[in-house]
């Protein structure tokens, strides 16, 4: 084993270099440009910071009228949702409302849905997509688990009046809760996506369906309209080396496990905490807590991801691009906002970028590429505390512009394309 690892060291070093550089350059430097906002983008794209210092700006939506609803993780002045109006390269704050901070926000069928760490609310919208009664939202879901870790209840809706809510695991890998390895009890009320009715008040666990299980934590999720299916981005487990120094080097622990994109069907189990995905071997592996050694593969009953990304990049936003502004290759593909890593030390931190994943016929097709980079403000600042900006939420404007939030400094970027 040890010999094997030594033999593989150069391979890991090369992979490491690739990963390290992954979010430093947006493709070919000769074919990319640095926009006024400091972001590096492919040729023809421009990025402008249309708002700054909003607070911990998480997910957002943009209405056909060019209004933005952005949800703050922590309510500012008692208001958790800020409303802005976009006019070209500028955005003006119109108002703010909602007594709760949080991450999840979505618009569907005349309602604005928003979550805090335990509940989901909805606000009625008028025909201009303005909230009509900001102080009296309807409580749709209540009583969800929130225990000091992976608390945000990110959400999205389908076309059949259902809402999908992430309930993240309140544990890295369940060790504290499954000491006898009899089955992880965290899975009973968390580590999955729950489905609720979008229009029924005061639902809780008994009213919902555990739509998919074995997902450690999901922040970026979206409904794919092309194949009418839920896609989610999982935050993979931490600390393979810290917990199993004899099985994983610090280098392997930085690159593994993959951050995974799953295309979910009802009843799917993605395998947390029992398995993790190795993007280098391209296999679902048995977790070391449950007898794995870095080589044993997982029970095939657990689903495989449809795409995989380097470890600890922290995917916080997922958007399927359906606009007409960007070049054809982006149509129906996925943008992923990677918040950026912390669990890669002593290796350099990475992520802190927006990635584009090409799609064909509703499934990933081809290698992902860095789309927007430079959020952190340079290699020396690429760390959770040092980064100037960290990408989080994604939204598409009515004209096909792409919006990206930053929850570090509270910026909103508008990314546009012109030939």
């Amino acid at each position: 084993m040890k010999k094997m690892m030594i033999l593989l060291l150069p391979v890991y070093a090369i992979i490491g270099l690739i990963v390290f550089n992954a979010c430093k350059n947006a493709g070919d430097p000769a074919n990319s440009r640095t926009a006024p906002a400091g972001l590096t983008l492919p040729a023809g794209f421009n990025a402008v910071a249309i708002a700054e210092h909003l607070g911990s700006a998480r997910h957002l939506v943009v209405t056909p009228e060019n209004d933005i609803y952005v949800h703050l993780a922590n309510a500012k002045g008692g208001k958790g949702i800020i409303v802005l109006h976009v006019d070209g390269d500028k955005a003006t704050v119109k108002t703010s409302f909602a007594s709760f901070g949080g991450t999840g926000i979505a618009i569907k069928n005349g309602y604005l849905y928003a979550s805090n760490d335990r509940e989901v609310y909805r606000f009625k919208l008028n025909d201009k997509n303005e909230v009509t009664n900001p102080d009296q939202p309807e409580k749709i879901v209540t009583g969800l688990v929130s225990r000091r870790m992976h608390e945000p209840k990110a959400l999205c809706l389908d076309n059949d009046s259902n809402i999908y809510v992430n309930i993240g695991a309140y544990s890295n890998i369940c060790s504290d809760y499954d000491k006898d390895k009899k089955g992880c009890p965290v899975l009973d009320s968390a580590a999955g996506i729950w489905q609720f009715k979008a229009d029924k008040p005061n639902q809780t666990y008994g009213d919902g369906i555990r739509y998919a299980s074995g997902l450690r934590n999901v922040v970026g999720l979206a409904w794919n309209q092309e194949d009418n299916q839920l896609f989610v981005m999982q935050h993979g487990r931490d600390a393979l080396h810290d917990l199993f120094p004899n099985l994983y080097t610090t280098r392997q622990s930085a690159d593994l496990p993959a951050e995974c994109m799953f295309a979910l069907k009802k009843g799917d189990n993605a395998g947390w905490p029992y398995v993790y995905y190795d993007w280098m071997q391209q296999k679902n592996m048995l977790g070391p807590e449950y007898g794995g050694d870095g080589k044993k593969t997982a029970d095939p009953k657990f689903i495989n991801p449809v795409a995989a990304y380097p470890g600890h990049f922290a995917p916080d936003g997922l958007l399927f691009y359906t606009g007409n502004q960007f070049p054809e290759k982006y149509k129906n593909g996925a943008f992923i906002a990677f918040h950026g890593s912390w669990n890669r030390a002593p290796e350099p931190q990475a992520g802190y970028c927006v990635v584009f994943q090409p799609f064909k016929n509703g499934m990933p097709d081809g290698k992902w590429e860095v789309f927007a980079d430079g959020f952190a403000g340079g290699a020396a600042k690429t760390s959770p505390g040092g980064a100037e900006h960290r990408p989080c939420g994604l939204a598409q404007g009515p004209d096909g512009s792409l919006y990206v939030t930053d929850d570090q400094k509270g910026s909103i970027y508008k990314i546009t394309y012109s030939k």
Binding site: S175, D238, D242, P245, W342, A345, P346, G385
Partner: protein
Amino acid sequence: MKIKRTVLLISSALLFFNCSFAQDKPVKKTTSHTATPTTSVARGKIVYTSICLACHMADGAGVPTMNPPLIKTSYVLGDKATLIKIVLNGFKEDVEINGQKYSNNMTPHSDLKDQEIADVLTYVRKSFGNKASSITVADVKKIRAANVVTK
């Protein structure tokens, strides 16, 4: 530096959050080197790199919302006994430092030797801009002897 306590029970010393990887049996990592440095700070740096760095970072800055910083906080600079107890017992409460909340659990590190704990705490108290007194093996021994582990 303004520090607001959110928990009374374990009031100071916020060291070595081993993030949320608290597990039943903390893994003992080897910190032995062929030539052991002679100073406590130098030895402490080796322990820090092996055990603490993954969460608290090389510069002691920690990770926002998760793992608290070790830079000039009263947890690090203050009462030695509570600081030592956090290493021995771990930490599972939310804390707020300069308006930022931190909530990851830290696993106990009672498997470390008295000398290792003294060294690593001395290193932390004299690094990252911190200028506090050393922690001795005798300090650790005394606290460990009186330590009642609450589960």
